[in-house]
Structures are given as C-alpha cells and as structure tokens.
Amino acid sequence: MDDLVNITVDGLKMQVPKGTLLWEACQAHGIDIPIFCYHTKLGPVGACRTCLVEVEGMTKGPITACSTPVTDGMVVRTRSPIAQKAQRGILEFLLLNHPLDCPICDRGGECPLQDQTFAYGPGSSRYVEPKRHHVKPIVLGPTIALDRERCVLCWRCVRFTAEIAEDKSIVLLDRGDHTVVGTFQDEPYVSNFSGNVVELCPVGALTARKQRFNFRPWELQNRPSICPHCAFGCNINISVRKNDEVIRFLSRDNPEVDDSWLCDRGRFDFEFINSPQRLTAPLVRDGDAFLEVSWTEAFELISNRLRSILDESGAHALAGIAAARMTNEGLHVFKRFMRDVVGTGLVDHTPRPNLRLTPGQQQAFARLGRNLMPIAGLDDARTILLLGADPSEREPVMELRIRQAVNRHGAQLVIANPEEITLSPKASHAASYETGGLAAFIRSLTSALRRGPQGSNNDDSASALVRTYLAEGPIAVIYDASFPGTLDKGDAVLALDDFVEALRARAAVGTLPLLDAANSMGARDLDILPPDGWSSSVIDALLGPDSQVRAAILAGADLAAGAGEETLRRLNQLDLLVVQELFMTETARLADVVLPAASFAEQIGTFTNSERRVQRLHEAVPAPGVARADWEILVDLSQHFDNALPYAGARQIWDDIRRTVPAYAPVAFDSIGPRGVRIEETQVLESA
C-alpha cells in the first residue's frame, strides 16, 4: 500500500494504488463513467470509447478511463463540457444503427445504453440515412440467440470465448461497419459456459434462448445465494419475480471462488424450484396411493411407528441417510435427530465416495482433507497438478480458474489421467496411466521425489515430471475425492497422502479435492458418517442382504433412482420408510410417509464448499405449500419424542455447530458476509 498516488476526479481528491485503471479508481469512489467494452474481468481494450474523460494536460483529446492507469497528480474531469461532448458524441454514434426497441428488449430496464440515452436524450435525430439491418434474432447455438442489430460490438463475448473459456467459438467477422459477431460458417455455439456471454453483453444482443422475452428486468429482484449444483460453490443472485417465481440465476462475483463466472449447468438448471411437480404437503401411503395429511398427522404416524420399531428391535433398526446438497443446518439437525433423539448411529450421506478405508487409510484421508488450499491460490501456483481429476466434469468453473492461472499468472498445468480431459490441450505436460493405476502412478512420482535430486536424474517419465514440474512450489494438487476408475481406492488414498508428504518436504503444497455435491464438505465436517467413519457405508448396511434395518429416514437421498431390483425390494421391505423430498422421486414412491422439503432457494442456511468456505443461503422465494426446511421438519418431528430438539432457527443451529465442530467454532453466523468465510483461514481443521 506504499505505492499510493494522489489524483483528483471531479474535484474529489483520492488516493489509489499506483497503476490502477482510472475507471476502477473512479468506480471505487462512486464516480460512474459509462463503459461498454471494458469489463473488470476481461481487462481493457479501449475499443468503444464511451468512457472518454478530460484529463488536464491531455494533448490528443479526451482519454479512455478504462485503459488509462492513474498517475500521480492526475486531474480528471468526467462531467466537464469536453468530457460530456465526447461521451455524447460516442453515444450518438452508437445509436445511429441501434434499433429503438427498448420496450420489447430483454435488456430494457437494465441497459446502460438505454440509461445513457435517457440521461442525454435521444441523439440520433441527426442521422437521416437508413439504418443497418440484420436478420433478428438468429440462433447462435442451443442456448444462445443473437440480435445483431442490438449488438454494439464491444466484443466482450468474443473475448470471453477466446480468453476465459477458450472455446473460441464466437468471433468477429468482416470489418468496419460490416463487422458482426458470429461463429465459423454459422456453426452452433456450443459451450459449457455459454450463459456468461449473456451476462457480459451490455445490451440485449445476446440472450439465453430459454429466457427470451419471458420477463422484464424491472419486475425482478435479485437475491444472493449459492449455486446448489456442485461443491465449487459459485455465488449467484437469484432473480425473482413477484416474490415467488425464480426467473434466472445471475453470477454474483466472488473473486475468491467463481470470479464472476457460472457454468451452464449451474446457471440454467433452476426450473426445478418453480416446478408445479414440487411436493406441497405431507403424504401418507394408503395402499398404492398417497393421502395428503397435516404435518401433525404425519409426525404422529412416524413417531408412533418408529417408537414401536425401536422398542422391538433397538436403535440399530433405524438408519438415516441425508443428501449432501442439504445445508449444514439441515445436516446438523439430521445428525442430532438420529443420534440424540432416536439414538441410532447409523447415519450417512449421499452422494459420497464409495470408500472402505482401513484405520490407517482413514487417517491418511483425514490428513488429506485438512489444510486445503484456497481456490484463489491457484493463481499463485507455479504448478497445478491434476491427479486423476477432471474439474470440467465435476466443478466446471474450476476449469476457468485453472485457465486463468495458466494464462494470466503463468502456472504450469500438469495432467495425469488415463484419458484426455477437456483441459488436456492446456497442459504443459500430460501423463497417462492405465485405468485403475492411479495409486501406482502416484507411487512412481513419490519414489522419484524421494530419490532426491540425483535419483530424479533417471530418465523415466516420473522422474522427468518431478524434475521439470515439481522441483519448486507452490504446487497445487487437485484430486478427485471419489478416486474414479480406481479399484483399490484405499490404496490410492495412502499413495496420495504419502505423495503430498514427500512433496511438502520439498516445496509449498496445497491440495484441493473434487467433491460430489454442493455441501459434501459440510457433510464430512459435520460427520454425517457411520460410527466407524469411512470404513463402512450405511447405504450398504441398509440395502445389504442381511440388513437388520427396519426403518429408514431418507432426507433427499434418492436411493431408488436408477437402482436395481434388489434395492427396490429392500426399500419395499422396510417397515417404515420416511422420505423428505422436493419431488415425488422413485424413492418417495416407495415411502410410507413423504415430507415436502424446501429447496436451497427457500431457506436460510449455509453450505461449505470444496475449499472449505462457508457461504450463506437466503430465503429467495417461499417454499411451495406447507413445505419446510429439512431442519424444521426434523425439529418438529423431534417434538414427538422425549429428547425434543431445541432449535428455533438457522442461527441457533449454527451456534450449536460451532460448539460441536471445533473448526467451525470461530465463525459467527453474522460474520459470514457476501464472500463467505473460509474455515481454514481461521483455524486449521484438526477434527475432520
């Protein structure tokens, strides 16, 4: 911070770090300068010239605030007659060929061009020539439509596909005033990140085909939340209409996590929230059908049956499985209910890695789960090593962060995988091993490491890799905590743990696991696992041939989906199957009692992402019918038992989590701001 410079903008004196772009400095001090081509995440190109401002001493006319770094003593006027004339001139040029269809434009109401036009009055009356015409709109690909008449050629979309997603599919074609954005020979624009170009487009030229003309931006309110689709934990805003309908997900920039990007799966898969198929009331089986009942009726039925089963067969007759997409609060109450209210230790979560670890392997796995590196730390890595991990499949936005680390920060990417993955062309080095051979591959690296400088002079490929890429830190090791394609996963755990240790002896190392679901990390931290941890699986116990289990509570765990006959038979055999769900899933269909649950968008709570960052969910829309948050359901159910749970809200539950999970202890609920709180920053996790 010693490198501050003094500048004056519109009479306001400010101190800003040397080299800051003038636009950013102004923005930080509440001075608004119009922009089109500039975007904080894409960097300056200075192409549109809308951000022209007057700078004292300028020789060649006004300068572009977006591409000019501040220098000490700079005196800037953003609203002076010279600046205004320049800005208005550009606006007039922009509007020459721009259709005046704001009333029917998807961007109407949130368009900087429209705002500026209102502010300055329509400037195009001096243009008497015919406007440029294009077919409108054209289909750019499965997800995106393009209206070329509205396009202002800021080429943000082009730069996004070329520089961020690197699928390069949107390009500029032709030149001069014939320039258009398009694709090679009108091939479809296909990308896992296509939705971002809609958000980047400052006007209504690029639209999501799903959403075109469905809404007017001014009807919407944006409510902060976290994407529920994977463990990366991208921050989103949920756009809500009339307080009860989810219209779209927008990115909500968290530079620590998503850096403002979303993948298409996360962005476009939201309609389930509004679905008319959602469960709206508790249901009780009546022969082949279900009857709607009140919560009290449902709870009484469950508690009576459960009590008699427990009385007859003991606590091990009940198993509970919770979905790892539940909030920390939901999971914590679930665990409390099972262990403290009904007294069973048979809890587990799903989806989870199918691990059967020996005690030694469990310790290794726990070590690996500690001291995770921050996602943003990828930018500092010298080498990023993907060990049997494919972020594009599992946590897609991590792919973009890795590309950025390589492109902007010079990281080297090393990929070890039996097959090509999306990131392979980006790798400085790609190593292959036979499917199933992950552990052996890792061990070959470890022995090369241990051979030390001389040993690694060997000319085998592992030594070469170690010599070239692992000699110096920081090294980011990304692994898939499910160890896909690996037969002996326990062995792979040991090998990986040993490798990381050997690596640590040489260089700074950070690890990041790829996990299964939005709150997989929470489920681990809150210990939603069998009493012997990762050495068994309650799902196996429940579904196994000599299962003792007679009753099950499945919270969002759709075990029947796509399962074989044996599983269905086992679930059918249960004396009591209680299912908490959003939909009438295949599992719910087999249930005795179905309880309608609130989705992530309908409750207050937290998720913990794969770098162990706790992030807040808010109630964006009300849950349908009488559906409730998972924790609310279980708290209410507990009232029908002796050890009723005392919680009245998510805050209280969180405080209880802090009491029982030491790592979470320092984090007060209200300290979880818009960017979340990374647990590792506050305390090294010892208890995992």
């Binding site: 390069k168 599919s169 390009v171 500029l172 074609l173 032709d174 030149r175 090679f184 020979q185």
Partner: protein
C-alpha cells in the same frame, strides 16, 4: 475434406516454419489456398486451420477481415479497378463502366460463363499510372478501353487454349503472357 494439393500443403508448411509462431503463416497460407481454389471455401479454411494448428473460427475471423480473400466464388479472372482519388477522375469511372458494359456485369458480379469478376477497389499504389487495375493480383496500368479489350481477348484465348487445366495454371500463364505483352 482435404481440398488442397500436396504442393499447397507443403508450401503452407514451409511458410509456418519461417516464423517464430506458426500462426503468422495464416495470411500466406490463405493466399496459397486461394491461389489454388480461386476463393476460400469452408473446406479450405478448415484445412488451413488444421495445418497451422488453429481453430477454424480463428481462420474465418481473419480471412473475413481482409478484402483480398474471396469469401464467395469468383471468376477465373478477377478484375479489380481502382476507384480512389486520383484514379477516380483520371478515367477509372469510365473504365469501370466500360468493363461493366462489355462483360454485362455490375461491379461485384461474375459473368455467366464464370470467366470474369469485376470489383471496384481502393487505391492500389499506382496513382501515377491511372487508371489502373489488378487482374488476379497483377498490375495492369495506364488503362484505355483498347487495352481492356486486348486484356479480355487475351484472357479468353488463354482460357480456350488451356481448357481443362487447373485454375491456377491458367491464371499464371495468362498473367505472364499479358504482362510481357505490355
């Protein structure tokens, strides 16, 4: 589908080797491809992309920027008459009208027999020899209607003589002989 001859592919490879980065060979490579095919069809752009290790999008993005690459089929002989000052008022407009009337095509069009395409183009750096045109990117200067007649006649003759030969050979033979004749 491969549309370039082995010779063209080899020459593109040679160009790529000249530069520190293969992408620099994109403009030369497109010249080579167009020389063979007369214009740049999709297949040619794809093949150039493949040869230089680029994405096809990048090729069209670049090709569409430059006016000398033809994005649509053109005639065997492309007549490009300069229309900028001073050519404009030193006879270029008349030459364009003359060619247009003689061949029965407007600027931008190709004759029905696929022999000639006429374009009006910007300054060709030959203002002192106005009016001027390029035919298949060779200069023909100090144009008069008589000269244009001779050029077109020579082109037709050569086209007849070498019927069946690949386009590039025709172009070259013709350019050389007419140039020598001037």
């Amino acid at each position: 589908m491969a549309v370039l001859t082995d010779d063209a592919r080899r020459r593109i490879g040679e160009y790529a080797a000249l530069y520190p980065a293969a992408r620099s060979a994109l403009l030369p490579a497109l010249h080579v491809a167009q020389n063979e095919l007369g214009w740049l069809p999709r297949d040619a752009m794809e093949e150039v992309a493949e040869l230089l290790g680029l994405d096809w999008d990048q090729v069209e993005e670049v090709a569409s920027f430059y006016t000398m690459y033809y994005k649509d089929p053109v005639g065997t002989y492309v007549l490009e008459v300069c229309k900028t000052v001073p050519c404009a008022y030193l006879g270029a407009d008349d030459i364009i009208d003359y060619v247009s009337a003689k061949l029965g095509i407007q600027p931008g069009e190709t004759t029905a027999d696929g022999m000639f395409t006429l374009f009006r183009v910007e300054c060709l750096a030959a203002c002192h020899r106005a009016p001027v045109m390029q035919v298949n990117h060779r200069y023909y200067q100090n144009l008069t209607p008589e000269r244009v007649d001779a050029l077109i006649e020579a082109a037709r003759q050569l086209q007849l003589q070498s019927a069946g030969a690949p386009g590039f050979a025709i172009r070259r033979t013709w350019s050389e002989s007419v140039e020598n004749a001037q």
